[in-house]
Each structure stands twice: as structure tokens, then as C-alpha cells.
């Protein structure tokens, strides 16, 4: 690559650039490096769009408290009995809350201006300004008595109109932005401190905010431990029993049977992998339903029909691991089978004449050759099992009672689909981010392992 770039530059730069100046602006296209970037552009864009962006967005969401309640756009400031309680309970500003919650009437210039707008008689307005400007009333009746006592004697209807204009209560008021709320609060209590303003804004805000609470919540929730243990249990058992163990059994047995039946046998084990998840899981459900195959069969022996999949936590786990295991075994089988096939036949011949029977050949010849394939399958399948969701979702949906809830399913239930109806995007994103980080760390460890492998396999020296 270097060489070709140098040639391209040597050939074009000194002569052509001078002779044909118009071409110079496109000169970078002549170098293979420039062209390479151009050709890579679509792929790069796709990578950024579909691989990087979701991760970045997950990371961003993880530091918010977004949910169905907050929405994902900005929110408003809503004062309600609830927010006032928050103000007194969480911030210890009970006195402020009480003050803001009480009905309050204040005679101020703003209200007077509003009256002018409404076309109230100037005499009444002048009377209010002269006698009552700056006064505060905590009950409407008291305030209205004062209005009625004005020299101009407004009618009852006008009195009501006037009192409404001077109502400065915050209870059940909704404000578009922080400025409006603060202004309204200051109208009631001009001596509001900064801390009090902040507390008020925090307590009344209905939109999402930046927060690290998600992680704190995750770290302290007892459910985290439970789901984590479920996930480890699921990954470890599926991996050892099926993705490597069963896969290896299949690969070794098919190695020792003739090519044709071996091929057919392998294709059979591929069926779970290539059948659509919904249909595949449906077959299992049919097997386990209370009117399904197992129940119908056991009915002959006097066992009462029941749902075998969701009957108990143990049953659910057996099914979840079987369902995922049969799907995952095929990959290991193919990789192990081809690794075994790559072992020179002469090694088996040598082992035979050296006295090794079949199981000794497996132990001394096949297994040592499968070291790296096993490691590879383990690494790869750990990652895919950590994020596996579809088959569990379709079969047990985490049940019964959360017994088979694994991490990725928990994310889904938290952020995208839950019974309470309040989808917690932020919290779910935080969970997903934890999974992403675990995956990235594991991947880095695995990549190191495989580089190491490349380093220690030296070329075979002849003669």
C-alpha cells in the first residue's frame, strides 16, 4: 500500500501538478490513501450510524431520568400539592411550601395595569392604588370586602373580576419556563433566596433532567443482584453444556462416522439455528403447554396436565437453556468439526499404531487441537448469550415471577415494555450501558488472547 502511494505521488506531483494546475485541486484523489478514504466513506457512515450512534445515545440516555412521564423533549414547571410536599419533605422548606400554597392576593402595579386593560373604571383603579397598593391579603373574602368598600362601590361582578386579577397563588399553576415561575414566586415572597428558588424549580419541573441516579439505583437495587446472578447462571450453563460441550460431542461423533450420515446429522442440528425464532419457540411451547405433547403423554401415566415450562423456576430454566442451547450448539459444532477435519489424517494413523484407541485419540490428539477453537467459541458465545433476548422473551418472558429474567430482558422490560406503563428510558439505558461496558471489556480481553495466539504460532521450519 505504501509503495503504490509513493509511486502515485512520484508520478504526478512534480510534473503534472505544474503542467495542469487545474488538476491540482483533485490531486489527493490520485493518491491511493485519498481514494481509499473516499471509497471507505459509505462504510464509515454506516458504522457511525448503526454501530456508534446507538451506543453513544445509550450512554447519553443513561445519564437522564427520561421516562414516559417526563417525555424525551423538555418539560414545564407544575406546582401541585405533590410538588409542595416534595418541597417540604425533601428540601425541608415546609414554611415556603405553605406560603406558596396559600391563596394570596397582592395589590401591585401589574394587577392595576391588567385592570386598565380590562377597561375597569379609572376611579376604582385610582382608589385601589391610593388606599391599598402593596397590601397583601390571605383570604379572598377579606380582599373583596376592601374592594367593595372603595368609594366607587363596584358591582359584585366587577369585584370578582378585580380580585381574580390580584390572585398571586401558585397552587396548581403551570409555567412554561423557569423565569415565569420565579417571577410568580417572587410576587408572593420578594425575599426568596437562591437556594429556595433552586429547590422550587427542581421540585416543580416535569421534564427530564441529567442525573447519575440511575447508576446509584442500579447499584443499590436488590433486583440487580438477582438478575445478574440469573444472567451468569444462564450464560455459564448454556455455554458449557451446549455451546461448547454438546457442540464438541456432536463434532467428535460425526468425525468418527462416515461422511454422508455425518453431513445429514450436522444439518439436523442446524435446523434450530435456521428456523425463525418465533416458530421454533412456538414448537417448544406446544411441547410444554398443559394441552401439549408432554402433558398429553404423561396423562397416560396419571400425571395431571400442566404447563411444564412455567410450572416452576427449575422447569423454566431447563427450557430456557435447552431452547438457547440447541440454537447455539450448531456454531460450535461446525467450528469444532472443521478444526478436527483440519487435523492431518496421518496423526490419527500415527496414534493408532502408537497404541491409542479412540477415546485416547480424542483425549491426546483431538482435544489439544481444539484448544483455540474452544476458546474462540467460548468468547464469541459469551458475548451473544449476554445479549440474547429473543428466545427467552418468546418462551418464558422472564417468568415465572422473574425467575428467568436475565439482564438484557430486564433492560427490555424496564425501558421498552412493562406492566406499570411507565417506561423508564433513562434507567433502562443505564442498564444497557452496563451491558455494553461488560461486552467491550470482554471483547478487549478476548482480542488480546487471540493476538497472543497469532504470536505464538511460529511458521514451520523445513530442513
Amino acid at each position: 500500500m505504501n509503495a503504490s502511494r509513493d509511486i502515485a505521488q512520484d508520478g504526478s506531483a512534480p510534473f503534472k501538478a505544474r503542467a495542469v494546475p487545474a488538476r491540482r485541486s483533485l490531486g489527493w484523489l490520485n493518491s491511493s490513501k485519498g481514494l481509499g478514504i473516499v471509497l471507505l466513506m459509505p462504510a464509515l457512515m454506516l458504522v457511525v450510524l448503526f454501530f456508534l450512534a446507538p451506543v453513544v445515545l445509550t450512554a447519553v440516555f443513561a445519564f437522564t431520568n427520561m421516562s414516559t412521564a417526563t417525555g424525551i423533549t423538555g418539560g414545564a414547571y407544575q406546582v401541585s400539592p405533590g410538588t409542595l410536599r416534595v418541597l417540604s419533605d425533601r428540601y425541608g422548606m415546609g414554611e415556603l411550601a405553605e406560603r406558596l400554597g396559600q391563596p394570596t392576593y397582592i395589590v401591585d402595579e401589574e394587577g392595576l395595569a391588567a385592570l386598565e386593560e380590562m377597561g375597569i373604571e379609572p376611579g376604582i383603579i385610582a382608589g385601589l392604588r391610593d388606599d391599598h397598593l402593596g397590601e397583601t391579603y390571605s383570604s379572598r373574602r377579606e380582599f373583596e370586602r376592601e374592594i367593595r368598600d372603595l368609594p366607587d362601590r363596584p358591582s359584585t361582578r366587577t369585584v370578582k373580576q378585580i380580585s381574580a386579577e390580584f390572585s398571586r397563588s401558585l397552587a396548581n399553576a403551570r409555567f412554561r419556563n423557569a423565569g415565569a415561575l420565579v417571577a410568580a414566586a417572587e410576587a408572593i415572597d420578594p425575599d426568596l433566596g437562591d437556594a429556595e428558588k433552586d429547590a422550587l424549580l427542581d421540585a416543580t419541573y416535569t421534564g427530564w433532567t441529567w442525573t447519575t441516579d440511575n447508576f446509584r439505583r442500579l447499584a443499590s437495587s436488590p433486583q440487580t443482584t438477582r438478575v445478574l446472578l440469573n444472567t451468569v447462571f444462564f450464560v455459564a450453563l448454556t455455554l458449557t453444556l451446549f455451546n461448547t460441550g454438546f457442540a464438541m460431542l456432536l463434532a467428535i461423533t460425526t468425525h468418527y462416522i462416515p461422511e454422508r450420515p455425518a453431513g445429514i446429522f450436522r444439518i439436523i442440528w442446524f435446523l434450530p439455528r435456521i428456523s425463525p425464532a418465533v416458530i421454533y419457540v412456538l414448537l417448544w411451547k406446544w411441547l410444554a403447554w398443559d394441552t401439549g405433547f408432554i402433558s398429553a403423554f404423561l396423562d397416560n401415566f396419571g400425571v395431571r396436565p400442566r404447563n411444564w415450562m412455567l410450572g416452576s423456576a427449575t422447569n423454566a430454566w431447563v427450557f430456557v437453556i435447552l431452547i438457547n442451547g440447541f440454537v447455539g450448539a450448531s456454531m460450535g459444532m461446525v467450528i469444532f468439526a472443521s478444526a478436527i477435519k483440519a487435523i492431518p489424517q496421518s496423526l490419527f494413523h500415527a496414534a493408532s499404531v502408537d497404541g491409542a484407541y479412540r477415546w485416547q485419540q480424542v483425549r491426546h490428539i483431538i482435544l489439544p487441537h481444539l484448544k483455540w477453537p474452544i476458546l474462540f467459541v467460548t468468547c464469541y458465545q459469551t458475548l451473544s448469550l449476554l445479549t440474547a433476548i429473543d428466545h427467552i422473551l418468546l418462551s418464558t418472558d422472564g417468568g415465572p415471577g422473574g425467575a428467568t429474567e436475565v439482564w438484557s430482558l430486564w433492560v427490555y422490560h424496564t425501558a421498552l415494555n412493562n406492566y406499570a406503563g411507565n417506561l423508564q428510558y433513562g434507567y433502562g439505558a443505564a442498564m444497557a450501558l452496563v451491558l455494553v461496558i461488560i461486552g467491550v471489556v470482554l471483547s478487549l480481553i478476548y482480542l488480546r488472547l487471540f493476538n497472543y495466539n497469532a504470536l505464538i504460532i511460529k511458521p514451520r521450519i523445513e530442513h
Binding site: Y357, K458, H463
Partner: protein, 352 residues
């Protein structure tokens, strides 16, 4: 131990590779199974060690019929063409493998392994892996692994084919030395007549799944049973020309050449077409029967020169002579043949 193949046959599906082969290998003897590639040498070897099941006939080790015995229990040592060393084991582990599989006590394993490593001169390499060895070293390890179990018979499948010329020479004498030192019965499969002649007590020469002749190297060279055998042994190889018997001599058509019938050979009836085989070393300045022709090719080999002599009828003879510069390309010369060294063959290749 004496090995006997008794009317042994082997076919793969419809392909009959070996049919009714009978071959006896004497105790302590090293026998070469020599033949062109694809003639069934490896197949024979694999049948002896039990990797292939035979289709017919018997295989006896001493007096014991081994035909149905699995290869694990035949106690044969095999050096495979690719050596088939276990790449994940060290040299020491490779050599010790047959002993460990037999569950010998570890002290005994170590002692025998080291003894064998000494025999093949690889004491210094015990901790290496096969990938870290040269071809010749791998060969020695393979030999040690084959011999360590004190096998009934040692089978070597083209053991030198993967080595370069110099190593081949060295390993040739090494393998022979080790075989003589251990006194083991051995079968060497090769397509190289030089290997067969220089290393073995007897040669069994094979063609298309059949054994054509079994004899000591000298005997086979001096007395080939067929034209195929004569053609296979000797380097540079023997040349053949067509001739017709007439009046007790052999006339080469259109070339004005008459050759006497060699002694010990019955004079064929007049008019019988025959094939005359002349080895290059028997055509030259000395001899009794004159042969005229044109020198059409000269190859200088240092000590000797190899000439191609084209006769008037277009046939080509080969001559190897001491290096000299009195003749050169395209000279017309009259050289002589030592007529007592001629071989006469019938049209079907059988020796007359």
C-alpha cells in the same frame, strides 16, 4: 520377526489396488518396497500396520495371524511420509507417547525415551516442539517414536522424500545404521531406486499392485527379470532398442548393427522380434560389438560424461564414460558394446 503377506488383496470400493500379493520378509532383514508412485506401496504398508483392513488374504507376524488384529495391538513402528509428529507435544513427549499409552511406569518411560533419543542423536532437542526442528531432526524424532516400543516390524513410508539432497544422503546411512544396531525387521517404501539399492538387504519391486521381482540389489541389477525392472534400476537408466533375431545374431533394423546373443541366453528363433537393453556403462570404447551413431547430446558430470548416441534408425542409446574431450556434439563415432552385459527381452517385457 518374520513378516508374511499371504495372498493379500486390497481394494477401495471398486478400485483393486493390490491383488493376491505374497511377500515374505525375513527376521532382521531390511526390505525395500520399490515402485513408481501410485503402484500400491503405501497401501501395502498400511495393511501391514492395520490402518487399512485387508480385502483378502492373511498377514502373519511370525506365526501369529494379525489379519483381524487392530493396529493398536500389532506393535508396529511406522515412520510416515509426513512424519506425523504430534505438533502439540515436545520431542520427549512424542517419543514417550507409545509408552505412556501402554501405561508403563514413568521411570521406565523416561529411561527408554532417553535411550532412544541417544540412539538417533537428538538428546539435545528433547524440549523442543516439532515445529522448531529441521526436517532431518523431525525424521529422527519420528524414527525414535517408531522404535521406542521395540516393535515387531519397522515400516518406513518414503522417509527421505521430504529432505533435501544432502540430508537425504546423511539420513540414508543413519536409518541403515539404526536398523542394523537394533536388528529390527524393516520395510522401506520408496520410489527411489538409489535408496532401495543402498539401504536394503533385498528389494521387492512393484508395479501396478504386483510384485515383479524380489532379489538382493546386485542380483536385481545384474539379472532383472523384466524390462520394467531393468528400466527402474540404474542411473542414468538403461536404453532399449528393437532388434530381430537372425542366424544367431541380433539385427537392429535400418541401422546396420549386429549384436551377438549374450551368453546364458538361449538364442531366439530366427525372425523373433526382441528388445535389447544396454546399460550406459556397457557402451563405450572397450567391448566387442561395434555400434555406429551420432553424438546427439553431451552432459558433463565432472568425473564422467554422459552421451546420447543416436543410431541411423533414430533409436537413442546412452553411454557413460570417463571425462574426455576427444569427441563432441554431432560427431559420428563408432563405439563398442560389451555383449556379455546385454539383456534380451521379449516384446511383452519378459527376460529371455
Amino acid at each position: 520377526m518374520r513378516i508374511l503377506l499371504d495372498k493379500f488383496s486390497k481394494s477401495f470400493g471398486d478400485v483393486r489396488v493390490i491383488e493376491d500379493m505374497t511377500l515374505e520378509i525375513n527376521d532382521g532383514e531390511m526390505l525395500a518396497l520399490l515402485g513408481p508412485s501410485g503402484c500400491g506401496k503405501s497401501t501395502t504398508l498400511f495393511a501391514i500396520c492395520g490402518i487399512h483392513k485387508v480385502t483378502g488374504g492373511r498377514i502373519l507376524f511370525g506365526d501369529r495371524d494379525m489379519t483381524g488384529v487392530p493396529s493398536q495391538e500389532r506393535n508396529v513402528g511406522v515412520v510416515f511420509q509426513s512424519y506425523a509428529l504430534y505438533p502439540h507435544m515436545t520431542v520427549a513427549e512424542n517419543i514417550a507417547f507409545p509408552l505412556r499409552i501402554r501405561k508403563l511406569p514413568e521411570a521406565e518411560v523416561k529411561r527408554q525415551m532417553e535411550e532412544m533419543a541417544n540412539l538417533v542423536h537428538i538428546e539435545a532437542l528433547l524440549d523442543r516442539r516439532p515445529a522448531e526442528l529441521s526436517g532431518g531432526q523431525q525424521q529422527r524424532v519420528a524414527l525414535a517414536r517408531a522404535l521406542v516400543r521395540r516393535p515387531n516390524v519397522l515400516l518406513l513410508d518414503e522417509p527421505l522424500a521430504n529432505l533435501d539432497a544432502k540430508l537425504r544422503l546423511e539420513m540414508r546411512s543413519e536409518i541403515r545404521r539404526i536398523q542394523l544396531e537394533t536388528g529390527i525387521t524393516a520395510i522401506l517404501v520408496t520410489h527411489d531406486q538409489v535408496e532401495a539399492m543402498s539401504m536394503c538387504d533385498r528389494i521387492a519391486i512393484m508395479n501396478a499392485g504386483e510384485i515383479i521381482q524380489i532379489a538382493t540389489p546386485q542380483e536385481m541389477y545384474r539379472n532383472p527379470r523384466t524390462a520394467f525392472v531393468a528400466g527402474f534400476l540404474g542411473n542414468p537408466p538403461i536404453a532399449f532398442i528393437d532388434a530381430v533375431a537372425s542366424n544367431g545374431t541380433l539385427t537392429v533394423k535400418d541401422a546396420d548393427i549386429r549384436l551377438p546373443v549374450p551368453p546364458n541366453t538361449e538364442t531366439p528363433p530366427d525372425g523373433t522380434p526382441v528388445i535389447v537393453g544396454i546399460r550406459p556403462e556397457n557402451l563405450g570404447r572397450d567391448g566387442d560389438a561395434p555400434i555406429r551413431g551420432r553424438i546427439s547430446f553431451v552432459e558433463t558430470q565432472g568425473r564422467e560424461n554422459l552421451y546420447d548416441l543416436t543410431l541411423a534408425n533414430g533409436s537413442v542409446l546412452r553411454s557413460i564414460q570417463r571425462e574426455s574431450d576427444d569427441v563432441s556434439l554431432n560427431d559420428e563415432v563408432e563405439w563398442r558394446v560389451r555383449s556379455d552385459q546385454l539383456f534380451l527381452f521379449a516384446q511383452n517385457g519378459e527376460r529371455l
